[in-house]
């Protein structure tokens, strides 16, 4: 069976056997189902066995911390092979094999279906859209008065907590996505944020699109202060908040072009904060002006 999904206006197809248990884990993707299957950016097909890739060549390993997924990248017969584990020290639980244009992917699930599916599709989405004015972000996004406010920061900084503080203290706020929203520079130059089927530990899979009001980079501190970031600061804060293999020139160029447009268009702030209501109010009053 093949199903097509549309996330941030980009279509992709997932192909798996009709009765495969993995379909039961596609709940988060349901709001994104798309009837028109034409013009897909990529197709990801589930395999029940991997080809023999023992002659693969290691390219790099990436992992952002002990509790973060580890991704090993190999080159195998002119294709990219990614072997993924849920944690730095965990065994490999998923395989993703894709051509170098990120158009046709095959993946194999060993452990948790949700981890394998989610990681494979997120990687494919990020790579296939990298040259299309699109960034798959690591961020928590709250909507207020029809605008999206993106909270950035290292893992454990309190992005989700800050979203909750807005929602609990400021009337009319709602969560758009808690972990992996998508930013896109639209044809008219406006920057929009979209919900996605990936939202970390918070089940919040909304097929919603709003213009971006502001981007806020969070840092834990002993008191609440906020200031506007310079262009270079904003670029750097954004740079570490979306993924992609920068050593692939076309990908790095695409990501740079999008990031440059985003920080040149959207007001970006640095918020040093406590996890309290005052932080949410200070932030909201400053960035919604």
């Amino acid at each position: 069976m093949k199903k097509t999904y549309r996330v941030a206006g980009h279509k992709f197809a997932v192909v798996m056997p009709d009765n495969d248990a993995a379909w039961n884990e596609m709940g988060p993707y349901e709001p994104f189902v798309c009837v028109d299957a034409s013009d897909c950016l990529f197709t990801a097909e589930l395999l029940d066995a991997m080809p023999d890739t023992s002659d693969k060549q290691k390219v790099t390993v990436s992992c952002e911390g002990p509790d973060m997924p580890r991704i090993e990248l190999y080159e195998w017969r002119g294709q990219w092979l990614m072997e993924m584990a849920p944690l730095l020290e965990a065994p490999v639980r998923a395989y993703l094999l894709t051509d170098k244009t990120f158009y046709e992917a095959k993946f194999r699930i060993l452990g948790s279906i949700r981890f394998s599916l989610g990681t494979s599709l997120m990687l494919m989405f990020a790579f296939a859209t990298a040259r299309k004015n699109t960034l798959l972000m690591h961020s928590s996004v709250t909507v207020k008065d029809g605008k999206g406010y993106l909270f950035l920061g290292k893992s454990g900084t309190g992005k989700s907590t800050h979203s909750q503080l807005w929602i609990n203290n400021i009337e009319g706020c709602s969560l758009l996505n808690d972990d992996n929203p998508v930013l896109r520079v639209m044809e008219d130059g406006e920057v929009h944020v979209f919900g996605s089927p990936w939202s970390g530990k918070t089940p919040c899979y909304q097929n919603i699109e709003v213009p971006v009001g502001a981007i806020v980079n969070l840092r834990q501190a002993k008191k609440n202060t906020i200031r506007r970031m310079s262009l270079v600061e904003a670029y750097a804060a954004m740079y570490v908040s979306f993924s992609g293999y920068r050593f692939i020139k076309e990908m790095a160029d695409g990501l740079h072009a999008t990031n440059e447009k985003v920080v040149g268009t959207v007001p970006c702030y640095a918020l040093d904060c406590l996890p309290d209501a005052e932080a949410a109010w200070l932030c909201y009053k400053t960035v919604s002006q």
Binding site: V59, T60, S62, A236
Partner: protein, 89 residues
């Protein structure tokens, strides 16, 4: 000396940044902000071997300053680059 592999000069509006993009420097997550002069020199010698004198000559030709001033500027810049680890012997 020469520039290290893996760094890429990016323009951001009127500003320049040197970004660690290559496999050689992967995981460095490093970014160095550069002014127009520094960016001009980096672009001129990227991937090549050079010395203080060669860079100073570039500045003299480009900006019409004296060799003495140029050498002083270049020495300061090379210290910054050295500290940032973006050049090697």
């Amino acid at each position: 000396m020469k520039t290290k592999k893996g760094y890429r000069l990016r323009q951001l509006g009127k500003e320049y940044i040197l970004v660690a993009e290559g496999l050689e420097v992967m995981g460095a997550n490093q970014m160095i902000s550069m002014n127009e002069t520094a960016a001009f020199l980096w672009e001129a010698v990227e991937g090549k071997t050079f010395d203080t004198e060669a860079l100073a000559k570039l500045l003299v030709d480009e900006y019409g300053i004296s060799m003495e001033v140029a050498e002083k500027d270049v020495t300061a810049l090379l210290q910054t680059w050295n500290k940032a680890g973006v050049i090697e012997d």
